[in-house]
Amino acid sequence: MKVEEKLALNAIKNHDESHIVLDEEACARCETRICIRACPAGLYSVEPATNKVIVDHSGCLECGTCMVICPLDAVTWRYPDPGYGIRYRHG
């Protein structure tokens, strides 16, 4: 099962605005790009046309892994606004 299929099972209400913002300049010089592998939801990727690292906040599990693991402090992260984001039905 692909991770996108699993995310589709979750109860989630995505905000239009992202609660995760990346420092593009830092990402451009980042050697590890560890966020891509570390995000359990697979929301980080490299945009092929520009080679830029991007994050798709919809589907975020709000674990905070990306913020903590980023070696360049490039992830500005907050909890989504009340009423939005993941809602665990089981947990």
């Binding site: 699993k6 592998r37 599990l61 009423g83 809602r87 039905r89 947990g91």
Partner: protein, 431 residues
């Protein structure tokens, strides 16, 4: 809420720490509000998991009366994995419904139950209330800001979980270091209760817990877990965050979990089940030596926010430590209710009672665990050595020969009989 009036306590976070704290406070007549960012208690929370009940008998006995436990754990296994083979040690113990030692829980249900109990004691548990900032006055914390609105209280209890933005804001945690966290990822699989009972050889309401070590995490420090719930299975992995940093290849958490589920010794257990949820959460794993200061005047850290988690490889305990710390913080506040619970002495009282409790005692006892468990040999070298040795004991080759016990042991000794290995093993045994 009482408009403009100052509360005795505002608790941030309706997880098990915050709710146990609020219940204790409200039971003793203090005015308390719990601000939770999720719609309801538990909406944002995820655990393995099982709750160890023995340590909470005195502290939370009343609160846990009638709690929606999934199953009482009566069957425990430690499984060493290597390729398509594994070796397990299993304990089936005689604990029953009447004498549970630990029970599996699902947080959405469990936290809602705790919130209802706290509500019965007249604590205000409020969803969709994200605390954004602390209010500080005269050198102490005097409340919190929620969407620009002030919520004032004599004390604030930060029960805001592993990422605790409040602990960071208060300067109690300078930085969140990857080496102090594990990343936990879990899938919930619906499965008929009768199938669970058949496959795990347990009676109704009884269940199993399995911990996996070895290539389930691809040899990274961490492990896999499997818990049976009433009519579902919790399966997942926890991996030390800084180990992921050290690793080069492309391999995602979903790959790990998918391979875990496909293992020949796991797949039959979950066959026919349907995945209904996929989640992730951090686990504070820094242990005793990474504990922050437990507060500043007017602010108390409890549970994950204070880093109170014990991981010894075969045990992962956070919920009982969270609930115990919540109750102990409440009791210190109650002790100072006539005076000023925001004074430094009240905080000292909490620190002392926590230090005297099983929470800190256990963490101190296992203070070396994080270091020992970060040794990759434990995951990469020993599980294959043990599995291979046992395999050779049971195999008969095409020449019709089995492997003499002596040779099998000798072969294992070549991998694990070195000084480095002896040292590792002694350390593990000391955990």
């Amino acid at each position: 809420m009482s408009d403009g009036e100052e509360l005795d306590v505002v608790v941030v976070g309706a997880g098990c720490a915050g709710l146990a704290c609020a219940y204790e406070l409200a039971s003793n007549g203090l005015t308390v509000a719990v601000c939770e960012r999720g719609d309801v208690a538990g909406a944002k929370n995820l655990t393995g998991g099982r709750l160890y009940l023995e340590p909470l008998k005195d502290l939370c006995g009343d609160l846990l009366e009638g709690a929606p436990f999934e199953r009482t754990v009566v069957s425990e296994s430690i499984v060493l994995t290597h390729g398509d083979a594994s070796t397990s040690i299993r304990l089936d113990h005689g604990v029953g419904e009447d004498r549970p030692h630990s029970a599996t829980v699902l947080r959405a249900k469990f936290d809602q139950f705790l919130a209802d109990r706290a509500g019965e004691k007249e604590a205000f548990v409020m969803g969709e209330q994200r605390v954004d900032e602390l209010i500080r006055e005269d050198g102490k914390v005097a409340g919190v800001l929620v969407a620009g609105e002030e919520v004032r209280a004599k004390v604030v209890v930060a029960a805001d979980g592993a990422l605790s933005f409040l602990a960071v804001e208060a300067g109690l945690r300078k930085e969140r270091e990857p080496r102090h966290f594990g990343v936990g990822v879990k899938e919930l699989i619906k499965l008929d209760a009768s199938l669970i009972e058949e496959r795990f050889n347990v009676a109704p309401r009884q269940g199993a817990a399995r911990m996996y070590m070895g290539d389930v995490t691809d040899g990274l420090p961490g492990g896999g877990f499997l818990y049976t719930n009433r009519d579902s299975i919790s399966i997942g992995v926890v991996v030390q965050m800084d180990a992921m940093e050290r690793r080069g290849e492309e391999d995602t958490f979903n790959d790990l979990i998918s391979r875990f589920k496909e293992r020949p010794d796991v797949a039959p257990l979950i066959r026919g089940g349907e995945t209904v949820e996929y989640g992730a959460h951090l686990v504070p794993e820094g242990g005793f030596d990474a504990l922050p200061e437990l507060g500043i005047p007017g602010l108390f850290l409890v549970g994950d926010a204070a880093g109170l988690v014990l991981n010894t490889g075969n045990l992962l305990r956070g919920m009982d430590l969270a609930m115990a710390s919540g109750v102990l913080a409440a009791r210190s506040i109650i002790e100072f209710r006539e005076g000023d619970p925001g004074c430094p002495e009240c905080l000292d009282h909490y620190k002392k009672s926590l230090a005297d409790s099983f929470v800190i005692e256990e963490m101190r006892l296992h203070r070396k665990a994080p270091k020992i468990l970060s040794n990759e040999r434990i995951y990469k070298v020993y599980p294959p050595a043990v599995v291979d040795m046992l395999r050779s004991l049971f195999e008969v080759d095409e020449k019709g020969e089995g492997v003499p016990v002596k040779r099998a042991v000798k072969k294992m000794r070549r991998t694990v009989g070195t000084w480095a290995a002896m040292r590792d093993i002694m350390r593990i045994l000391k955990l």
